[in-house]
């Protein structure tokens, strides 16, 4: 990552939350950079901190959260920004699509009210004009009878249709960055393919940058330029999507091996032993060490930093990929 002029830059982000009177670390260290118009896939399992990273970008953390490090959008620091200015960013520049559309839409208002509210109240667009734009945008996301849908309520729409409405809502404000948090996890695979195609097409047409959060590496690779893998509150690897098959970090490789696919009945599924750790459970060493097949003594005592490895960066004392085991030996001697 050059980091010279990324649209979104997250540097050294560390977040703690208070709960049950204890302060818990939820993000240890997150570094990300998304250039304008590019897409980054943030991949990890439940509790790895990927959604919290997106929420930190938007300043949507619960009360009592303490944020260290920096989030910069187009050169401006979001972490230091006054609430009113941050609201301006949220309504004009950065839009978010969530996993469960039904939790983020008012069930008693019409789709039309939901879509045009932002334009009418914060932009002063006339209602008729706003409705025409909303209907046109619904057409763009694959909803043919937009005018009729605007009069319907969320309960009358299927999950896949409603998620398309949410995407249209995110696009209406013409943002420069889209944060998509597991937008297709609750959908059937066929609907997922369609919704992802719509996100991908509209993003490319508009030159929109995207932070795409998912637990599915293959899905992220299909629509993103680069991938950042999170584990227990830290980014452990960052690399171009096309290089996933020669990932350096053992966790990334293990995730690839545990994903079921249609590679023929002979392909064996390799499960990772143990369970994913939460950020607050990690010790002094590498968070993945207890589950890592290649862990050595150093791994349990020293925290690995995110350093250049292969075609990206990896936070691992002994990065390697199966075809280049020689590289691992080199790195281990230089570390010792």
């Amino acid at each position: 990552m050059t980091g010279t002029h990324a649209l979104l830059e997250v540097k050294n982000l560390h977040v703690t939350l208070t709960g049950d009177r204890r302060r818990r670390t939820v993000l240890h260290r997150v570094d990300l950079a998304i250039p304008a118009g590019a897409a980054l896939g943030l991949v990890g399992e439940s509790g790895s901190g990927k959604s919290l990273t997106a929420r930190t970008v938007l300043g949507l953390l619960p009360q009592g959260a303490r944020v260290e490090g920096e989030v910069r959008f187009d050169g401006r620091s979001l972490t230091a920004m006054a609430p009113a200015a941050l609201r301006g960013i949220r309504s004009h520049e950065i839009a978010m699509v969530f996993q469960d559309p039904r939790a983020h839409i008012n069930p008693v208002r019409t789709i039309g009210d939901f879509l045009t509210e932002g334009l009418v109240t914060t932009r002063g667009v006339r209602r008729a004009v706003a409705e025409a734009r909303a209907a046109a945008l619904l057409g763009e996301v694959g909803i043919a009878d937009g005018a009729r849908r605007l009069r319907q309520r969320p309960s009358e729409l299927s999950g896949g249709l409603l998620q398309r409405v949410m995407i249209a809502a995110a696009l209406l404000t013409e943002p420069r960055l889209l944060l998509a948090d597991e937008p297709t996890t609750a959908l059937d695979v066929t609907t997922q393919a369609e919704v992802m195609a719509i996100i991908d097409e509209t993003r490319l047409q508009r030159g929109l940058a995207m932070l795409f959060i998912t637990h599915d590496l293959a899905l992220a690779a299909a629509v993103c330029d680069r991938i950042a893998v999170m584990y227990a509150g830290s980014v452990v690897e960052e690399l171009p999507s096309g290089h996933l098959s020669d990932a350096e970090h053992p966790y990334t490789r293990a995730l690839m091996a545990s994903r079921p696919d249609l590679g023929g009945p002979g392909k064996k599924l390799t499960a990772i032993k143990g369970r994913p750790l939460s950020a607050f459970e990690t010790g002094p060493g590498c968070a993945f060490a207890p589950r890592c097949p290649d862990a050595r003594d150093t791994c349990t005592t020293q925290h690995p930093a995110l350093l250049p490895a292969g075609s990206g960066q990896a936070a691992c004392h002994f990065p390697h990929h199966p075809r280049a085991a020689a590289g691992a030996a080199e790195r281990s001697t230089s570390d010792a």
Binding site: E45, S46, A197, A222, L244, L255, D261, L262, I272
Partner: protein, 269 residues
Amino acid sequence: MPEHTPGAILEATGLRKTFGDFTAVDDVSLTLTPGASLAVVGESGSGKTTTARMIAGLEQPTTGTILLAGRQPPGPRARTTERRRFAQHVQMVFQDPYTSLDRHQRIGDSITEVLALHTDLRGSARTARMTELLEQVGLNPQQAISRPRSLSGGQRQRAAIARALAVQPRLLVLDEAVAALDVSVQAQILTLLQDIRRQTQVAYLFITHDLGVVPHIADEIVVMRQGRVVDRGTTTEVLDRSQHPYTRALIDSVPRRGWKPRRRPATPT
């Protein structure tokens, strides 16, 4: 009495279920032999869950017959002893173990409860069997005193599987049992289910919307759409050679290396 094929553990013939004017399941027939595994694949609204619920005895078919080990399941007015005998043939595991396990009950107790109801095991023998079941699903016997809340999603699903296995059923109906789990945990549960099937000869009816997991769990596939079976065959036949456009569309929707999402061409519904 419908005709019984010797050796079949499940024979469902001409299943049909209507809710008012709506036909959820239309003329579905399924057969399973002991130790076999059949995946029922379809999208929301395909009728796959209703089919599973009829086979597990949670729903009465409008027409059609179900034979489990040659016997018809007890109707809604059956005596308790008949229901219990039926429960020993078929058990069900649901998508979300947090809602299917009692949140106030320790998981060890939820298993011993089943053992008390269905087996002659008493006292230490019952506890020993409970421990054995926890170990079989990869849980630490010390976790017997845990309540569902303090377990992770994968551990809860393991507990739900242990509870279902407690009666040593001949057939396990798994309704989207791995859909809510993270990929690494999903792989663990799929591997566990394969091991259990090899060890116990239990048969699986595996309900899923994700064709990607099917090669790792089932020998045969039935594809359902709008209540009807539209395609069926062995896993290899269906995944490698099926010519059915709907099956092809399902296969093309599974993300993999080099995959690009595409809008589905408008197919008549």
